[in-house]
């Protein structure tokens, strides 16, 4: 197992290298560079300015030369500076963007999970009842409504129509001070984006939980538990749910790396400064250093979670052995 672990970790290094090469090459293929962005903002910008700045940033060199230079820097822990925000790219991502994404996506995931499980169970236990039909209809609506539209509607209802009830977007209200006021303010800003972001997952997971529960409650061991005279509550929540929830946990686990890459539509509509929007903007305005550090981080996460999943399988399933 140890040898396997070492081998897998060592495999990550060349994999990341190849990923970085592909990502850098793809970004370099995109027309435009940061100097074109500067030229757009400066009508008096001269050709001399253009040539000088391209040389300054090394953009007059072929992409593979620039890649090599970039690689040399990140080996020493220098991820470069964000040309969009004038700060170290890694600091910008991990200090200003990543925590916001974890907060929003994490909360949405928790909300979706803890509502989907009981709703799915109730829907399964009351199969073909009015409540079941109602939950099913709501779920289909949740799956069908585009998040950006739902977001705009939520803003329209709770910020515009019921004026001042909840903020239209952003992370916090400028100038709010005091611990309690700050906490309340942050909660107010989180409500609408969390509702919007969790809606899709909630709908999908409720359907998933319902199907899983329906399958499990018809199995022999559940019938046996009932025959033993256990209470219905104990049969459902102790025996059936524990098995029915396992596939959902696997599904949620698969969503974890996505959680860190951000939710671009929700972040845009609610003006939430997260990873998704940061990556999108960085690519759009040719902020290569921010794009590379973000994409490489997500690649590392995906590789790490794959490894973690493989290790977990080996730990929980005695039939799997890695040599």
């Amino acid at each position: 197992m140890f040898a396997y672990l070492v081998r897998r970790i060592l495999q990550v290094i060349p994999t990341l290298f190849v990923i970085s090469l592909i990502l850098y090459g793809l970004l370099a293929l995109k027309p435009g560079d940061p100097i074109d962005e500067m030229r757009r903002g400066n009508p008096g910008f001269t050709q001399e300015d253009y040539d000088r700045l391209r040389a300054f940033y090394g953009l007059d060199k072929p992409w593979y030369v620039r890649y090599w230079r970039w690689l040399g820097r990140i080996v020493h822990g220098d991820f470069g500076t964000s040309r969009q925000f004038g700060r170290p790219a890694a600091q910008y991502i991990f200090r200003y963007r990543f925590p916001n994404t974890v907060l929003l996506s994490g909360l949405s995931l928790l909300v979706a999970f803890f509502i989907a499980v009981p709703t799915g169970v109730i829907s399964a236990l009351r199969q073909h009842s009015q409540l079941d039909y109602m939950i099913t209809v709501v779920n289909f609506i949740g799956v069908s409504i585009p998040i950006f539209w739902l977001g705009i509607m939520l803003i329209y209802i709770f910020a515009v129509e019921i004026r001042g009830f909840l903020p239209a977007g952003g992370l916090a209200t400028p100038g709010v001070t005091g611990t309690w006021a700050v906490v309340v303010d942050r909660i107010r800003h989180l409500i609408l984006p969390v509702v919007a972001l969790s809606s899709l997952q909630l709908a999908q997971w409720t359907r998933f939980m319902r199907s899983s529960m329906l399958e499990v409650i018809q199995l022999d061991y559940v019938v046996t538990a009932r025959a033993k005279g256990l209470s219905e509550r104990r049969v459902i929540y102790w025996h059936a749910l524990r098995n029915a929830i396992l596939p959902l946990i696997t599904l949620v686990g698969l969503n974890v790396p996505l959680l860190f890459s951000g939710a671009i539509l929700t972040e845009t509509v609610f003006n939430w400064p997260g990873m998704g929007r940061a990556i999108f903007d960085a690519i759009l305005v040719n902020d290569f250093n921010v794009a590379m550090v973000s994409l490489m981080f997500i690649s590392l996460l995906v590789l790490s979670f794959n490894l973690l999943a493989d290790i977990t399988y080996a730990l929980v399933d005695p039939r799997i052995r890695y040599g």
């Binding site: 027309p31 435009g32 560079d33 100097i35 074109d36 962005e37 030229r39 757009r40 903002g41 400066n42 009508p43 008096g44 910008f45 001269t46 050709q47 300015d49 253009y50 040539d51 700045l53 300054f56 470069g80 040309r83 969009q84 925000f85 004038g86 700060r87 170290p88 910008y92 200003y96 963007r97 705009i152 803003i155 329209y156 910020a159 515009v160 004026r163 001042g164 009830f165 909840l166 903020p167 239209a168 977007g169 952003g170 992370l171 400028p174 100038g175 709010v176 309340v184 303010d185 909660i187 107010r188 845009t268 509509v269 609610f270 003006n271 400064p273 929007r277 759009l284 305005v285 040719n286």
Partner: protein, 618 residues
């Protein structure tokens, strides 16, 4: 149970909604903007969004007021020949060959940390601007300077090696930007010394040192002491959220009445999505919008949405939306379509109902017939308006040999080498909503005269990339590219050099006619004349205008340039774009005025709420 849950939810909701917005009561203002500045470094970048923010806590030697008049800011007076502060040395032909300008800074001008603003700051600003290693975005004006000399603590001379017509404009003197001519030496001096020391020790790491220690310096990122010369003091920058400023008690320009009647705090909030910004405005979270965030929205619809609580103002932006033709003889498609023949361009301008187009895609915009924005010095109001006349367009196209040969409603012609071609004209623009709509409308207008417009909308980063825009000679865009250009040469805060129309810079001595401003393989695709239009007559007039300090004479030359442009139509001007600004009722003096002002945040010291006693003077 359900009732209890509903009541609990309502209770929580009500308690959460207690944090409201009461800016007039607090004598503060929350401004909404969609674009955030990249940094606060005075030497880097000059995008409108950064200049707006810099304008709140900085002021230049001069500034343009809401009527477009130049006013002294940090300077005691605007240098002119009459007051002896502008010295012009002419050759025997009367041509200006040398220029010297004397500036004096006001005695009561202080940086926001209380340090006096002196001529040492001006000399230092130019030193950094002129240091080859430093990351300076543009040296368009500073390259004209020979030296900046200190006279005493408050006065300094700028000696030009090439005359600078725009010497008195904000940003035109030392060449920083449009809202801050001078940077504080006591803040940036130690940073500059450290950066230069680092570069001397590790010249191979120049880029990293500049990026990390200069652009990344605390005064640039807002993480340290940020000092300005303007009416407000920088307080904090929560990146991706807001920047906050507070009023200075020691600023030298006063609004009418007590200063405490005017804004004491300003917050600029960044909301990237336009619909969300609009929602926040209607919800009352944002009390005023900047001049960029609501671009392209219909002022009438905005007024309806805001109702009685808000005011909508449209002001000229200084930018002209136009169709740029590919006129390169190297591009076969463009040659086949006879785009190089002015009659083709004249046919196209007459085939488009530009008034209808402007009304539909950019409400409030006015049709343009010039490369200058209306109101600029030398603007010619008598130019041919090229009214909508599809019959005239058809006649011109018929003269050129175009006819519907196969009866499919599209024009065809036989080329000199015997090929039969159809008038399929490629049009490209960015993915901005109004441009997507513009493509659809142009398609309809041109179809009426038999031209088939192939519409393509690409991201701005692609359209404006040099690999695309500057490679017209290779037919990267074989027909038309639509975008907006800052129009100017008369007063010209937007584009003082008329960058996109000239081919040869005849200001240079000796004159070299190598099409230096036309992107071609020979010059590495450099230059901004992306249409490839070459007119020696136009270039000579431009050179003459840029050296003519007499406003009346310059206006006459500029009018001739416009007449030539209007006849030749190297680009088809569509409309002067407008900027739409909203503000809550009661907010006074928050106005931009003319296109000359360019930046909206030029008079923050006068902003205030009427209900708090602020007096409207704009």
């Amino acid at each position: 149970m359900i009732r209890k849950i509903v009541l609990l939810a309502l209770g929580i909701g009500l308690s959460l909604s207690v944090i409201g917005w009461a800016s007039p009561a607090l004598n503060s203002l929350v401004i909404g903007a969609t674009q955030e500045p990249s940094n606060l470094c005075p030497w880097e970048g000059a995008a409108d969004t950064k200049e707006n923010v810099m304008g709140i806590f900085n002021i230049g030697l001069t500034y343009f007021d809401s009527e477009g008049n130049l006013q002294p800011g940090l300077a005691t007076e605007i240098p002119t020949e009459a007051n002896g502060r502008l010295l012009l040395f002419r050759d025997s032909d009367g041509k200006v060959i040398r220029q010297e300008v004397l500036w004096t800074i006001r005695d009561d001008a202080y940086w926001s940390d209380g340090v006096p603003i002196t001529s040492d700051d001006a000399v230092f600003t130019y030193k950094v601007q002129n240091t080859p290693e430093m990351l300076v975005t543009t040296r368009a004006f500073s390259n004209l300077i020979e030296v900046v000399c200190k006279v005493d603590d408050k006065s300094f001379w700028i000696i030009y090696k090439t005359p600078n017509l725009f010497y008195a404009n904000i940003g035109g003197s030392i060449g920083l930007a449009r809202h801050y001519d001078i940077a504080p030496e006591h803040i940036w001096g130690p940073i500059y010394d450290q950066v230069m020391e680092g570069i001397r020790a590790n010249p191979e790491k120049t880029t990293e040192i500049i990026e990390g220690q200069f652009l990344g310096a605390p005064p640039s990122t807002g993480t340290g002491v940020v000092v300005g010369s303007g009416a407000f003091k920088f307080e904090e920058w929560q990146i991706n959220q807001f920047i906050r400023f507070s009023r200075r008690a020691d600023f030298f320009l006063d609004p009418p009445g007590p200063a405490e009647n005017y804004l004491q705090e300003i917050t600029v909030r960044y909301i990237i999505a336009q619909p969300t910004l609009l929602s926040a405005i209607i919800a009352g979270e944002i009390e005023a919008a900047d001049d960029i965030g609501l671009a392209g929205l219909d002022p009438a619809i905005l007024e309806a949405q805001l109702g009685a609580q808000g005011v909508v103002e449209s002001t000229p932006s200084g930018f002209i939306e136009k169709l740029n033709f590919n006129l390169f003889p190297q591009c076969e498609t463009a040659v086949d379509l006879l785009l190089g023949d002015k009659r083709t361009r004249q046919a196209i301008i007459q085939a488009i109902d530009r008034a209808d187009l402007a009304r539909t895609v950019y409400p409030g915009a006015q049709v343009s017939n010039s490369f200058l924005v209306a109101g600029d010095i030398g603007f010619d109001e008598t130019l041919n308006p090229w009214p909508y006349d599809p019959e005239a367009a058809k006649a011109l196209l018929a003269d050129l040999g175009w006819a519907d040969i196969d009866g499919d409603d599209w024009l065809e012609r036989t080329t000199d080498d015997g090929r039969e071609i159809q008038f399929d004209l490629h049009w490209v623009a960015t993915t901005a909503d109004f441009r997507i709509r513009s493509g659809e409308i142009l398609q309809e207008f041109l179809a009426d005269v038999g031209i088939k417009l192939e519409v393509e909308n690409l991201p701005g980063s692609v359209v404006f990339s040099s690999e695309y825009l500057n490679h017209g000679s290779e037919c990267t865009w074989p027909g038309i590219v639509e975008y907006a250009e800052g129009g100017g040469i008369g007063q010209a805060p937007a584009d003082p050099l008329s960058n996109e129309l000239w081919a040869n810079d005849l200001l240079e001595v000796p004159v070299d006619a190598t099409l230096e401003n036309t992107p071609l393989p020979e010059n590495g695709y450099g230059g901004t004349n992306i249409t490839g239009w070459v007119s020696e007559k136009f270039d000579r007039m431009r050179a003459a205008a840029l050296q003519e300090f007499d406003v009346a004479k310059r206006s006459a030359i500029v009018k001739q340039m416009q007449q030539l442009y209007n006849e030749e139509l190297p680009t088809v001007p569509l409309y002067d774009r407008v900027e739409t600004v909203t503000k809550m009722v009661g907010l006074v003096n928050y106005t931009k005025g003319t296109a000359a002002a360019r930046c909206q945040f030029w008079n923050a010291w006068e902003w205030g709420w009427e209900q708090n006693g602020a007096v409207a003077v704009r």
